[in-house]
């Protein structure tokens, strides 16, 4: 990554700025010297083989994993600062998980309102209005009183997106949001994410959906073995990758079943 974006006089300071991020589990170094910047309104897709550290990198951004070194600044907040009110910081970073993680004992409405009321201190009425608006955005208004267990995987993931949106975050993190879905429900989720991107949401998406990355992402980051191997505009990285590792990975992903 070049340093031109980090010029001090840049009018647009990056919303997310990751510098020399290190992460190791015991003696196992998972991330090495990750540098990444995401500007406001930008959609960045992170691709790479499994075990390449992309999910760990994403989880470091809202400190679900504690970084071993380096710095992460989100919207001016130093996420690695131990004096930072991490709970308050996390309300501004929405996160969507591979396994949805909806609260199984609560209805969809309660899933969307519980944190608004208990963390943001919103009134029940306001929380309800926000919940209804966001549920409409993901096209599931009629499911507001359903229990998560009665929804399909794709519906659960859309509810999870609405739940994160209900906190009015500045940035949304997606951790392989479609990897646990049946193929026929993937499209609905990607459609919601696409409209979110078009509405100007800042998004970091760890994904295996190359077509989505190509069409929606402003930038694509290819990770392998805990390092950023290549990054650039989506069409370049996916369409004509420069690095050999990227080429090999894309060949395997885009044309599965073919040798060499």
């Amino acid at each position: 990554m070049t340093d031109t974006t980090a010029a001090p006089d840049a009018a647009e300071t990056p919303l997310i700025s990751i510098r020399n991020l290190q992460k190791s589990f015991g003696s196992n170094q998972v991330l090495t010297d990750i540098n990444l910047e995401v500007r406001k309104g930008e959609v960045v897709c992170v691709i790479g083989p499994s075990g390449s550290g992309k999910s760990t990198m994403l989880r470091c951004i809202n400190v679900l994993e504690t970084p071993s070194g380096g710095s992460i600044v989100v919207d001016g907040m130093d996420m690695t600062d131990l004096d930072l009110d991490i709970d308050a910081a996390r309300t501004r970073i929405g996160m969507v998980f591979q396994s949805f993680n909806l609260f199984g004992h609560l209805t969809v409405r309660e899933n969307l309102t519980v944190a608004q009321v208990k963390v943001l201190g919103r009134s029940k009425e306001e929380a309800n209005r926000t919940a209804e608006a966001n549920l409409a955005k993901v096209g599931l208004s009629e499911k507001i009183d359903a229990k998560p267990g009665s929804l399909s995987g794709g519906q659960q993931q859309r509810v999870a997106i609405a739940r994160a949106l209900s906190m009015d975050p500045d940035v949304m993190l997606f951790d392989e949001p479609t990897s646990a879905l049946d193929p026929e429900t993937v499209g609905d989720v990607l459609l919601v994410m696409r409209s979110l991107a078009e509405a100007g949401m800042t998004m970091v998406v760890v994904t295996h959906e190359m077509e989505f990355a190509r069409q929606v992402a402003d930038r694509v980051v290819f990770m392998d073995g805990g390092v950023v191997v290549e990054e650039g505009p989506a069409k370049e990285v996916i369409g004509s990758p420069k690095e050999e590792r990227t080429q090999n990975f894309l060949a395997r992903v885009l044309h599965p079943g073919q040798l060499g």
């Binding site: 809202n62 679900l64 709970d87 308050a88 996390r90 309300t91 970073i93 929405g94 996160m95 998980f97 396994s99 949805f100 993680n101 909806l102 609260f103 199984g104 004992h105 519980v114 944190a115 208990k118 963390v119 943001l120 229990k147 998560p148 267990g149 009665s150 999870a160 739940r163 994160a164 906190m167």
Partner: protein
Amino acid sequence: MSTPRTTNDGGGTDRPSPSSPPAATPKAKMSRRQKAKISRGIQYGLLVVIAVVVAFMADWSTLIDTFGRVDIAVGMFPDVVTQALKNTVVFTLLGFVLGLAIAIVLALMRLSSVGVYRWLAFIYIEFFRGLPALVVFLVMGFGLPLAFPGFQLPRLYIIMVALALVSSAYMAETIRAGIQAVPKGQVEAARSLGMSSSRAMFTIVLPQAMRIILPPLTNELILLTKDSSLAYILGSSVDGRELTALARAEIVNTANLTPFIVVALCYLIITIPLSYLSRVLERKYGSAESGVK
């Protein structure tokens, strides 16, 4: 169920299989169904014989005289219900509520990231799980007042604390297992929404753990109902007796064992609905909830 259908049941002849031994021709061998029928018949026959022998050998008039004196049974009412049964229920509930509160704290300590908490909880649980409830009652009731002359709790508190000490150790392990059965993703989702770890525990994890641990907790309540009988060794005033204490007093008064039967029925009045409740809860929550994933 006892006769799984297999391919060589009955119609084994029209499928010549090279590996089957030649002796196993259908006419020489009883089918499995027939065998099961005969063996069941023998078992039932034995049961009937035993019942008949017992019925003839028993000295019914003495038995009824010892255990089934209706006048004595009737004489125990209404005190057996209004005092003894009530006291048993009160002791059990007080002990259970206090025990549950201690157990939740212990379970959280067991799961804490602070090593000292984990060890303290571990020692407490191992200690009180290993002690007979009777010993706990004796120490609470007689040991501590001797060791600490100022220590003089009302009897009700002693019973409540003793029952809580005994039950909390068991319930703590149940609750810990329940909490650990809630997928880690639930906490991560709660934390990512800005909840503190304790808020995530109380609003997200514990309610979901509760459905897992409710059936075993009901079981613990049944055990505790029976353990409350140990309160009799502390002695009591007439209106402080629970079921077992009342039974012992009545047996002395009447020189007859009928009170045991009456009290046994009273315990069953409490425990049978509870075990029914436990089964209902198990059926309702026992199968993995699809929402919790």
